[in-house]
Structure formats: C-alpha cells, structure tokens
C-alpha cells in the first residue's frame, strides 16, 4: 500500500523510544493502566484521546516530570527511568507555552543553554540560528507580553530546539491558537519535523491535527492504548468500539453473524441484514458483533440499485458545517444513523424533517469491530 512506503520513509528502523508496561496512578485514580509505546527515530507519533485518558501523563512520564509506578522507559536503548527531569534529553512544548514573562524572547530561548558552563558566543550563534529556523530573528528583543499566540508558540519551540533534544514532546501545542492559525502552524510543524529528522511525540484530543501531521497515531482511552496505526488505518479500520466512536463520524450497528459463506459475512441487525465483504479474519456463526459504517460512506439509494446494504430511517435533523452537511436519522428500532454528504439535497426531494429515507452503502465499506471484551487486557 502507498501508506506503507510513506511510513517507511518517515520512520527509520532505529528505536528512539521504547516504553514497556508503563503504569501510573495518582492516589486511587488510575491515570495509566498499562501502556506500551514505540517510537522510531524521526517518526511523528500522535497520541490521541479524550481528556483524562492519560495521554498527558504519559508525556510527562517520558519528560521526567512524573515517575511511572511500573514499566521501563528506554531512550535510544538506554534506561532513563531513573534519570531526573533536568538531565533528560527530551524537551516538552507546553500547552500554555510556559514562557518566562520576565525574560525577553532571546533570554527565553537561551535559557536551557545558560544553565551550565557555556560559551556566550556559541550560545548567541545557536540562539540566532534557531530563531531564524522558526522565523523569530526579528523578534529577539521583544517582551513575551508583546507577542501573538503564534509567535509565543514559535518561541516555545525555539527554546526547546536550541538544546538539541533527542525527542520533542508536544502537549496540545495548537489548542490555544485560533482555527485559521492552527492549519498554518500544523504544516509548519510537519515541515520542521522533516527538516530536523528528530522524533515528535504529539499529544492531542483533536483528530484532524493527529491525522494531518502524524506518521502513526496512538489512540488512548482510560489509561490504555486502544489502537495504534497509520492515520488512514485508524480512520478506515477502527478496531474497537471506542475508536469507532471517537474517530470520525461513524455509525455503529450491533448484530449477530448468520452466515459466513463465500468470503461474505452476513449479519442480522435490528434494521435488517448487512453483508460484509473483504473481511479477512475468521468469524464464528452466531457471534454477537459490532459493525462500523462511516457516515460519509452512506448515501441515498437510487431506484434499481442492487447488491448494496440498505437501511430505512427517518430524518431527524441536519447540520450544515460549510464543507459538508451532516444528516441525523433514526431507524424504526431506535438506532441512530449519521450520514455526511458533501452537498446538501436539493429542495423538494422528499427530504423534509420526519420523512423516511432509504440509505445504502457498499458491503466492502463495512468494518467489523473486535469482539467486545476480546481486547487484550
């Protein structure tokens, strides 16, 4: 697949970071139940999950700001579990940037270089080189209070990069930027990462950020990793119920397998039977499973179309988002159905609220989720 070759280019084969069985609790609250994470050198890994899933805690453990209760942490093959925070060669970009307000831009950037014996001239050269890299060279004497959000962000990145970290850790760095700027910074970050060739571990709750930038996405929930894979894999082939709900706009149907003949799995759902094509794994007849159909794979069935899965549902509401329209429907059995279209229906097609529509999707666009509770503990 095209994706595979792309990731082979992006991530080398040398392991940069290996986390094994990392666990962390705060009092009685389990922040991380058990997490394994591998980052290859030069790879851009996004850790994605809802707030409270343990993603920031994991980042803080890697940075050395928290100690894991269990597990090992190897940085380029070296166990860094006992290395105190100020001796680690990882650098964190903070969500709020955490710039020092009493120092100007130059002093902020050089902070990490001036903590040990240093040559003032060399520091100056390095600071100016990094400032040029992130286009800050004209702002070096500015006060932090005089900077815009995007500029602060670049100072934070420069302050980290100037210390030549082995891995850059980013904790939701774009969340305090406005939507317009976010897209711009997003592409800048990707370019920067490619140029530097160092690994980025990027924590976010925003899937479009993760998918746009990362070579690999790790989806976390409740302290465990739900799924790891390339963005397209995560998007098109969610493996667990959580991923299917969290990523994209998916319809999830429950059903029971009634037939598995000839490479096609037939499933009885509450609204009717569904055919699934191209499913590789063996699956037992009679098994209770969940199916996922992406909302943008659904469309209205035209007369005379055959060989498609169909579903009848009543239109309950619609939402125009600019580039697309989301339709919310409900089957007679009370199952909610979402459909995303690039263009809205034209008027007068029997698409008023509460009218019944017949929708369809191709059998190969159906994904079977892992059996419930079949996930590795």
């Amino acid at each position: 697949m095209a994706n595979e070759s792309a990731s082979a280019v992006a991530g080398g084969t040398v392991a940069d970071l290996e986390a094994r069985g990392i666990a962390k609790r705060f009092g009685s609250v389990v922040a991380i139940e058990r997490v394994d994470l591998d980052v290859r050198r030069g790879e851009f890994v996004a850790i994605m999950g809802p707030s409270g899933c343990g993603k920031t805690t994991l980042l803080r453990i890697i940075a050395g700001l928290e100690r894991a209760d269990a597990g090992t942490l190897l940085l380029r093959g070296e166990d860094i579990g006992d290395v105190p925070v100020h001796r680690r060669s990882t650098r964190l970009i903070w969500q709020d940037y955490s710039l020092f307000p009493f120092l100007n831009v130059r002093k902020n950037i050089e902070f990490g270089l001036t903590l040990r014996r240093h040559d003032k001239k060399a520091v100056r050269t390095k600071v100016e080189a990094v400032a040029e890299l992130v286009h800050l060279d004209h702002l070096l004497s500015r006060r932090i209070g005089q900077l815009s959000g995007g500029e602060k962000q670049r100072v934070a990145i420069a302050r980290a990069l100037v210390t030549e970290p082995e891995i850059l850790l980013l904790d939701e760095p774009l969340s305090s930027l406005d939507a317009h700027l976010r897209i711009k910074v997003q592409s800048e970050l990707t370019v920067l990462q490619r140029e530097l060739g160092i690994s980025f571990i990027y924590v976010t709750h925003n899937q479009s950020e993760a998918f746009a930038m990362a070579d690999r996405v790790v989806v976390m929930n409740k302290g465990v990793v739900e799924q790891t894979g390339r963005p397209a894999e995560i998007y098109n082939r969610p493996e667990t119920h959580f991923v299917a709900e969290f990523v994209g706009a998916n319809n999830i149907f429950e059903g029971r397998v009634s037939d598995t003949a000839a490479g096609t799995v037939v499933v009885d759902c509450s609204h009717g039977t569904v055919q699934i094509a191209g499913h590789g794994n063996r699956i037992d007849r009679g098994a209770a499973i969940e199916l996922v159909v992406q909302a943008d794979k659904l469309r209205r069935r035209l007369d005379g179309e055959d060989g498609l899965n169909t579903i009848r549902a009543v239109l309950k509401g619609r939402e125009f988002t600019g580039s697309q329209v989301i339709y919310y429907l409900e089957t007679a059995q009370g199952v909610e159905v979402k459909m995303v279209l690039q263009e809205p229906f034209t008027e007068g097609e029997g698409t008023e609220i509460n009218s019944e529509l017949e929708l369809c999707w191709a059998p190969e666009d159906t994904v079977i989720l892992g059996h419930r509770d079949a996930r590795q503990p």
Partner: protein, 302 residues
Amino acid sequence: MTDSSVIPPSNRSPLKLTFLAPPVGYYAIFFIAPLAFLVVLGFWIVRDYQIVAEFSVGNYIDIFSQFFSRSRFGWALVQSIYVAVTTSVFAVIFCYFLAMGIVFCVPERYQRLFLVLAILPFWSSYILRLFAWQLILAQKGVLNYVLGGLGLDDPLIITNTQIGTRIGLIHYLAPILIIILYITLINVNRNLIEAARELGATRLQAFWRVIVPLSRLGLTFAFGFGVIVSFGDVLSGMLVGGGIGQSWLGSYPLYSNMIMADYNSYTNLPRTAALATVMVLIMVVMLVVAYRMADRARQRLA
C-alpha cells in the same frame, strides 16, 4: 466653588457623594489635619515657655546647624536608615524562606493553619512582646542562661544594641511580610518552575532563575514596607535597643528615639514638630522610591 465643579457631571449621583463622604472625612480628620498641624507647629516659636503662633524657620536652622555636631541628629538619621534597611533585608529573607516552606512543603489543606500560626504573634501586644524579648536577650536573660548552660561563658550582648532593635522589629514585621510573600509565592505559576526544570535547571537554578524573578514585585513591596515601618518605629529601639543602641556606626540612638527624647526633655514642642516633619519627609521619599521600584517590577511581568 460649587459641588458640581468638583465632581464631573456624569458622576453627580447622590449615592456616590454619600459614600465618598466617609473616606474623605476619615482622611481629613485622622490624616490631613494632624499632619497639617505638625507641619505648621514646626514653624512656630516658643517664648517664655509658651508656644507662640509666629512664623519662623528658626527651628529648622537650629536642627540643621548642629546636624552632625552637638545634637547628632544627622548621625541618628543615618543610624535609623541603616537599621531600617538592614532590618528589612533580614526580615524579608527570613519571611521569604518561611513562606516558601509553607507554599512548597506544606500540603495545601494545612497551609492556612501554618499561615495562622505564623501570624498569631500579631495579636499579642507589641510592647509586651518587646518586654519578652528584653527578658530573653538581656545579659542575664534566658538566652544567655541557656548558652551558659551549654558551656558558652561569654554572654552575648544583644540588648542595648541595634541588633536587639532589629530582633524586636523583625518579630513585629514578620506576620505582615509572611502574608505578603505567601500571596506572592502562591501565585507563582508552577508550570514555569516545571518548564525550567524540564529545560535542564536544577532545583536551585529554578529557584534563582524563575521563583525569585517572579517574586520580584512581592519582595520589593515587602522590603519597602519593612524599611518604612522600621524607620518609623520607636518602641523596639527604646525597649530592646536601649535608647542609644550600639551598632558599628557607633552608639547613636535611632532618629525616632531622638524625637521622643526631644519631646520629653525640652519644652520646645515646635522644634520637636520640626524634627518629626523631617522624618515624615524622608518617609515620603522612601514611599516614592518603593513605589517606583514596585512599578518597575510590575512592568517586568507585564
């Protein structure tokens, strides 16, 4: 002039005037009137043991003509400033570390208790506390008794020196400075400390390069407050410092003690008022300097 010319038309609400009256009255009666009386009195003279309301700068000529000679007012002033500044420095350092202990080492739910314990002395009488210090620090006092028991033969001479004055003052200042510095430190953004550590700073470097700069405003404020209060204090210098306390500058009393002595021994009240006016002027200068310093500290954080 009518009322309307004092207050802009948009603010001519009767409610505003009603609530403006108490503070204005308060300042007028308890601040402006006594101060004005003090300043005016300093320009009057005494004739036949009677105060005569007759304008004269004679008192000031008398004070400044013998400033560093016979009366040694000047030396007392230097002593006062020296003691006030050093007292404030020690008090701020002591209270800063105490507040740091509360903010960074005490669990959050006990912090308030610790703060109350630190402030508690404030509710006992200042004079009583100074007498207690006399008992503790005297040549044959508690401290020397204990030290003697530990084998230290030469007693420490603390009372009747400016060191004693400072101890009394620091005890007086501590509760207020602890509150100021506690508030300062509790507002230090912990993320910035972590950010510094993450960039490679040791704990000590994080303290000097992040916590101290972020405390600058509070430290300035506490220092200025300490200097002004110490400069104006009479009691500690009198009761623990012994009136003419020894310091390395010499055995000069504090300027405030000198005003007290002048008040007690002379029947020239206008001259005492003139001495006090000089002190008030110096305090105003201190206040302006402290304000400027605080302003600069604030701007650095903006």
